[in-house]
Symmetry: C2
DNA sequence: TAATTGTTCTTCGTATACACTTTGTCCGGA
DNA sequence: TCCGGACAAAGTGTATACGAAGAACAATTA
């Protein structure tokens, strides 16, 4: 009850535009709306059961985030990530996640490390169960958690946005990420626990290299993105 | 004329919401709207002479960009960058601009280098004239130009946004940036021209270190940002 | 003084209207 | 058949109005 009150003080009723934005993002990432597809305001409004205003506001933010492109007087279309984009995104992610790993190593508390280890355990378990969806989800959670531990809000929000886009491109390409090499993750968490920034950074870079290599293999088959 | 036609094909009549967004950004960066200041939709609509709709859309984007904070059912207030933010921003900028310098070194054409040198010359000249505003402007242009040369749109847009925020914090703090050490810039451009990625990266890092040191000195006096 | 109530301001969402562009279609003429 | 222009349809861009609900502040009451 006390928690309810505290929540109510600030807010709790998240605006429709935010719900629309979230729904739009996931719809695009999941491929429900394909690149190049036209997104008229009326259509989105109908799809989400709201009026045009919340839709418009969500669209502007989605544009700023790079999920849609808005052509003046023509409306919005889902953005079309090109193969060049993958290289570019990984180049930036490399730097950012290396920094995040370093900061996390320098700042992680025992509780932080424990939470990372817990994710690692769940990941191993899910891998054994061959629950690929869960594995991918845990992978995301782990990376996001490290960003959070880094304690740099800018880093966190930028990398998070990049991460979403990478996921998007992945889904467009191959069905699902390959079975993750949790060994790399363990290396990374070990390094963070050690408090050795250099080592953490190296571990992050190694992991990213492997991930980007996998990305290219996946991309080979090709996303039908024109 | 051919250019006019090409422009007309796509568009030319940039929407009110974009004009409002641009005006809002500069108003915040210039300190016309101070951190913590309340920005009601009606007030902004009146200030810019438009209806509430374009204002709302501009506000959402400004929120996504971190210039304003929107409290549910309370409205928007200008964001309040704290001293921690400066450290965080520079940590990210360091990585990003180092990457940009490396990419620029690897990809710069002769024409690119020439345009950088031209900016350098103008900068030196403006410094001699003690035209500080122009110096600051040329400094911005130079950095943005390097980002553009890097050819990585993600890097470019992220770093650009960070750059805007840094400027904002600067203006809040001290009146104007100290007379720039163009020597560092020359080092950087030399390194880019040489095509040596490592060297360019080092030069960028050196420059950022100096800039962040200067930032702290300036910040010492204190931005009255509560 | 402290708690409660009421008032006011403002956001949030909806609905509507209309000008203006872009696009697509149709039709007549060469 | 092919071309060109008139015409209609679709959709964005902007403005405006209105009701509901939350938050802040003032006034009132115990």
């Amino acid at each position: 009850m006390a928690e309810d009150l505290r929540d109510k003080l600030g807010a709790q009723h998240l605006p429709l535009r935010d719900q629309v934005l979230a729904a739009l993002r996931t719809a695009i990432i999941d491929g429900d709306y394909l690149p190049g597809e036209r997104l008229t305001e009326d259509r989105l409004a109908e799809d989400f059961g709201v009026s045009r205003n919340p839709v418009r506001e969500a669209l502007r933010v989605a544009e700023a985030e790079g999920f849609v492109v808005i052509l003046p007087r023509r409306g919005a279309v889902v953005a079309s990530p090109s193969s060049g984009t993958i290289t570019d995104m990984f180049a930036v992610r490399e730097r950012l996640e290396a920094l995040a790993a370093r900061l996390a190593a320098e700042r992680a508390t025992a509780a932080d490390v424990a939470s990372l280890r817990a994710l690692l355990d769940q990941g191993r378990e899910a891998t054994q169960r061959h629950d690929l969806a869960r594995v991918a989800e845990l992978n995301s959670t782990l990376h996001l958690r490290i960003l959070q531990i880094s304690g740099n809000p800018w880093l966190s929000s930028i990398a998070k946005s990049l991460y979403l886009h990478v996921q998007w491109v992945f889904r467009l390409g191959a069905a699902e990420r390959a079975p993750h090499s949790w060994a790399e993750h363990i290396q990374l968490v070990d390094a963070i626990e050690s408090g050795d920034g250099d080592r953490a950074e190296r571990a992050a870079l190694d992991h990213l290299d492997a991930a980007s290599a996998a990305a290219y293999e996946n991309a080979e088959g090709g996303y039908g993105v024109r």
